[in-house]
């Protein structure tokens, strides 16, 4: 069945709440994305990602909640290269943050600072620890 057929649309309708929640939380109109891939080509961290940023955008458009299981959302460091380059004016970093927040708000912490050995804590600057806590713990 071709894309955009009744079947696909119905699927989209069913999964709409997730897409709407991401839109609301990120403030970005994910529907604007036309999958050019500029975000993915400029992203310095794709080597570590399981999904390309543009794939994440597509999954959000389709309302596929499984995108929350992806490693990508935790790898994004909010460097905003995608924000500068997106021809559709989408701040992809905001979408990534919304996805992280959806997970973090369910009593989930991506990392635990308790597990860092003292020698690392002695060495790491506050700026690294504070940003890490803010990005990866709820």
């Amino acid at each position: 069945m071709p894309l955009g057929s009744g079947e696909t649309l119905r699927l989209g309708e069913k999964l709409k709440p997730f897409r709407e929640r991401v839109k609301e939380l990120s403030g970005e109109d994910v529907g604007l994305c036309y999958q050019c891939g500029a975000c993915s080509s400029g992203c310095p961290l794709t080597d570590e990602m399981d999904l390309l940023p543009s794939t994440v955008m597509r999954m959000v458009q389709l309302g596929v909640e499984e995108v929350l299981d992806s490693k990508t959302i935790w790898i994004c460091s909010s460097c905003f290269t995608c924000q500068v380059r997106c021809p559709r004016g989408i701040d992809v970093a905001n979408v990534m943050e919304a996805l992280r927040q959806l997970v973090l708000r369910r009593k989930y912490d991506r990392v635990s600072i308790d597990l860092l050995p003292p020698e690392e804590l002695r060495e790491l600057p506050q700026i690294a620890l504070v940003s890490c806590q803010r990005k990866l713990t709820g």
Binding site: D114, P118, L121, E123, L124, Q126, V130, R134, T137
Partner: protein
């Protein structure tokens, strides 16, 4: 007791009691029949054992106080927090050093501070708790000491902190480091410790031990406090 035995209504863990106005929360609870085993200590505002949270009718504010200090208000909803679950961090003061990262090393959760100031609002000693946590984050030991000097470790800041920090432990580490490495030794203390070790006060102590309780009480009450 206050004039004409004016009474107020308080709710201790939801149970309504009429108690005389003018009593402290602690005395009001005892008046209402509670026998306090935990959540009570010096009764003088120094030991930090009687941490209490309350709301007053008509106000959304969740307030914090020491039960031995705070006077009951009409329509007060009260719960005591006799203990704060907090891990006792172990460190050897002889081995650690007053380095900029010393607080982060022992209390890495201070990096979660939101500067929301909830700790300051909760402090019954009116300390600027958030400011000292922030000073600790940047390794300013002296500032932490200055701002936390009157901390009695009641635990209310730790109970209220959304970042799950235990501020009073951080402050305690600061004061220990400050005494050990920054302030230096006090001649007076050294002298007194030597006197104690030499047995200068042994006889006096023995005499005190043999005194009857009434005499001890009399001496205690008539003691002179010199500053």
């Amino acid at each position: 007791m206050e004039k004409e035995g004016k009474m107020v209504t308080i709710y201790v863990m939801g149970k309504k009691h009429r108690v005389p106005a003018g009593l402290t929360i602690m005395k009001a609870m005892e008046y209402a029949g509670y026998q306090l085993r935990r959540g009570v200590g010096c009764r003088g505002g120094f030991c930090g054992a009687c941490a209490t949270l309350y709301r007053v009718k008509g106000s959304y504010k969740l307030q914090a106080a020491l039960a031995c200090q705070k006077v009951v208000e009409d329509g007060m909803y009260i719960v005591q927090i006799p203990f704060t679950p907090a891990e006792k961090k172990l460190y050897d003061i002889e081995k650690i050093r007053p380095t900029p990262n010393v607080f982060v090393e022992h209390f890495p959760e201070i990096t979660r501070c939101l500067s929301c100031n909830t700790c300051t609002k909760a402090c019954p000693q009116d300390l600027m708790v958030m400011d000292y946590v922030q000073a600790a984050l940047r390794g300013d030991i002296e500032k932490v000491v200055e701002l936390s000097f009157d901390c009695i470790a009641c635990g209310l800041c730790a109970i209220r902190c959304p970042a799950e920090i235990v501020p009073y432990q951080v402050a305690q580490l600061a004061r220990r480091l400050y005494s050990k490495y920054i302030l230096g030794l006090s001649e007076e203390v050294e002298k007194r410790v030597a006197e104690v070790e030499e047995g200068k006060f042994d006889e006096e102590l023995e005499q005190l031990k043999r005194l009857p309780p009434e005499e001890l009480r009399k001496r205690y009450e008539s003691r002179e406090i010199r500053v």
